[in-house]
């Protein structure tokens, strides 16, 4: 295999592609943690998004509506986490895992019940690869960006909007206050519960978006367990990126790179070992303590009403 410009473009393009679901899910994690709730349930919300976006596209025949459907159900699944943890004070890791387990159990069931199929769904309307000829005229960047889905650009937009929201608006400040010191927030009259629910709902939407990208963005169908642990990787990216949209963006590109490496190594190493790489990398990051940055001080704290 020769290393030339083609291969380089291919790697970068591949990296960006792989990082999109991570960016979106980890961004969702940002919202959750910055509202004071930990984000272990991203995997389940993502999987729900993958499935329901396919369902939505199947029903409406439109990929964008399918995406909305996926985001909606990502949020619905996130409500399990929200109700269990915020209202019933269950340990956030447990309630997060419940979302993951529920999605893992429910999606095959629904696949069977609704489509009568097992393993994967029928093919549906998906986001097509853009055919932006004019892009090819821009040197270097054009080739790479041209290989991206329109959703890639939506994701970048969301990162910017999220950052502005969190750090430049009043509600963003208040939400962050809830995550730092919910008692203090409640003494200045903020509705701590509402902010926490909001943060979790946003994480559900964004993780649902991430899942939809996997099913109708990159492909055009749903495959059982297609999230393959990316939600957990997003949790690590969120910590790695210091719970900040910009940091999360950078972290996702970084992790996406290791995911993209698979395509290169595929012909050299056995496939299972290659598929291991993102997880090994994530594990190294955690083990080396890089993924343990201190989050907001009030995560997991409740206020007595």
């Amino acid at each position: 295999m020769t290393f030339n410009a083609e291969v380089l473009y291919s790697i970068v393009a591949s990296t960006l592609r792989s990082s999109v679901p991570l960016i979106l899910a980890a961004l969702g994690g940002c919202f959750s943690v910055r509202a004071g709730v930990s984000d272990l349930g991203l995997e389940g919300m993502m999987l729900a998004g993958s499935f329901f976006s396919v369902l939505g596209s199947y029903i409406t025949g439109n990929a964008w509506l399918g995406l909305l459907f996926g985001m909606l159900f990502g949020a619905v699944f996130s409500m399990l986490h929200a109700v269990m943890h915020i209202t019933y004070r269950v340990n956030a890791s447990i309630s997060g895992m419940c979302v993951n387990l529920l999605a893992t159990a429910a999606t095959p069931l629904l696949l069977n019940e609704i489509f009568g199929m097992s393993g994967k769904s029928p093919i549906v309307e998906a986001f097509k690869k853009p055919d932006w000829q004019w892009m090819n005229n821009i040197p270097v960047v054009g080739r790479i960006l041209g290989a991206q889905n329109v959703l890639f650009f939506v994701a970048i937009l969301l990162v910017i909007v999220s950052w502005i929201f969190m750090y430049k608006t009043k509600i963003g400040l208040r939400m962050r206050m809830v995550s730092e010191n919910p008692h203090a927030a409640s003494t200045v009259g903020l509705n701590v519960t509402a902010y926490k629910y909001f943060g979790v709902a946003m994480s559900g939407c964004l993780a649902g978006f991430a899942g939809a990208y996997l099913s109708i963005g990159q492909m055009n169908l749903f495959v059982e367990e297609m999230t393959a642990g990316r939600g957990y990787i997003a949790v690590v990216i969120n910590a790695f990126g210091k719970y900040n949209p910009l940091g999360v963006f950078g972290g996702s590109i970084f992790f996406g790179f290791f995911d993209a490496l698979q395509t290169i190594f595929q012909n050299i190493f056995p496939s299972q070992l290659v598929m291991m790489t993102p997880y090994v990398f994530t594990l190294l990051v955690i083990a080396l303590g890089l993924g343990g940055s201190r989050g907001p001080a009030g995560v997991g704290k409740h206020v007595d009403n």
Binding site: N91, M97, Y279
Partner: protein
């Protein structure tokens, strides 16, 4: 007068039992709803399920054999939870243990029957234990989140064993990823011919009893319980919290590994790619349903085994989804984890019945799941 079980524990056990029982009932009811939506009669379906799994010999054997790996993974989660650590790595530990047992079973020869099988279990114990020890070390010394480390390790172990089973260890002519068949001396005796029920279930039950004894009657168990309840007080009392956490978590993984051995030595006679249908994660629900009590795990595993046996058998003739049991398991976990949730459902049910009752404002405290 010396009582055998303290009042404090009696009351706590009683309320945990009620909590679990109610959670199970609610989950089964919701399961009925799911069956109903599929277009079948819930009552008839449940009767069919229980009829098969308890009423027929084959069904009963399947109940017990399905329960076997679940006892191991349930014990694993429950034991780790005694020091308030969450072991989500049972799936990976299961695979590690299975591979270890498969290798011992296939490549070591000239051993007497019982010894060979036990050696297989020992290898699985070690493999699962080491995997868990790695996670525990990350947690204790690097302050890593053991949940995520375990989950990542799961993927790594599963991929790696799959690589082995598809590559270097794959017997020639095999269609699927698997290892060489184990020697006859390593195979576990079947308790009922032509079923998957083997002596492994005895090993599972004995393990549960050993853990119960450990927790209740030994100093080690005492230190585990103190550490799990109150870390600071444990430190003040001179207990080596790091050591306790490491040993407990490693043991937890070792037990999960044994579940893998049970599958390899008793059912498949080799390591087979993808042999586990989510036994690792099922262990979480099993443990929660049993209120993290080792002996309780035996019963809750049996209960889930019954459901699985029934749905698997019925799945051949009807299209009652096999995933139904998975959903019920998650529901059980949700309802056991949120006792306040159950209380509010119960009081709402009471309110519906008696129109004149006024609902009191509920005090919601932090719950320990």
């Amino acid at each position: 007068m010396i009582k055998n079980i303290d009042n404090a524990r009696k009351i706590k056990m009683g309320s945990s039992f009620m909590n679990s029982a109610i959670a199970l009932v609610i989950s089964l009811i919701l399961g009925m709803v799911i069956i109903g939506i599929s277009g079948y009669s819930p009552i008839e379906s449940y009767i069919a399920i229980f009829g098969v799994s308890l009423g027929t010999l084959k069904g009963f054997a399947l109940s017990l054999s399905q329960a076997t790996p679940l006892i191991f993974t349930g014990l694993a989660f429950a034991f780790a939870y005694k020091v308030k650590m969450i072991n989500t790595g049972a799936e990976g530990q299961l695979y590690a243990g299975a591979m270890a047992a498969a290798l011992v079973g296939a490549y070591i020869t000239n051993l007497p029957s019982g010894v060979h099988a036990l050696l297989g279990f020992a290898a699985a114990f070690l493999a699962g234990g080491l995997a868990a020890l790695f996670v525990a070390l990350c947690k204790v010394y690097l302050n890593a989140n053991e949940i995520i480390v375990s989950l990542m390790l799961n993927e790594i172990i599963i991929f790696f064993t799959s690589y082995l089973a598809n590559g270097p260890l794959k017997p020639p002519g095999s269609g699927v990823g698997q290892t060489k068949m184990i020697e006859d001396t390593a195979k576990l005796t079947k308790l009922i011919p032509q079923t998957q029920l083997t002596t492994a279930i005895f090993i599972a039950i004995i393990t549960a009893c050993v853990l119960a004894y450990l927790l209740d009657k030994t100093v080690f168990g005492y230190e585990i319980k103190v550490t799990g309840h109150n870390l600071k007080a444990s430190n003040v009392a001179g207990i080596n919290v790091s050591k306790i956490s490491l040993i407990t978590f490693a043991l937890s993984g070792a037990i999960a590994g044994m579940g893998g051995a049970a599958m390899v030595l008793g059912v498949n006679y080799r390591f087979v790619e993808g042999f586990s249908s989510g036994y690792g994660f099922a262990g979480i629900s099993i443990a929660a349903l049993a209120a993290y009590n080792p002996i309780g795990v035996i019963f809750s595993a049996f209960l889930i085994g019954i459901l699985k046996s029934g749905t698997i058998t019925l799945n051949r003739t009807t299209s009652i989804p096999v995933e139904l049991v998975d959903i019920i398991q998650v529901l059980v976990l949700i309802f056991v984890a949120a006792p306040a949730l159950i209380k509010s459902i119960m009081s709402r049910a009471k309110k519906v019945r008696s129109k004149s009752s006024r609902e009191e404002h509920m005090e919601v405290k932090t719950s320990d799941i």
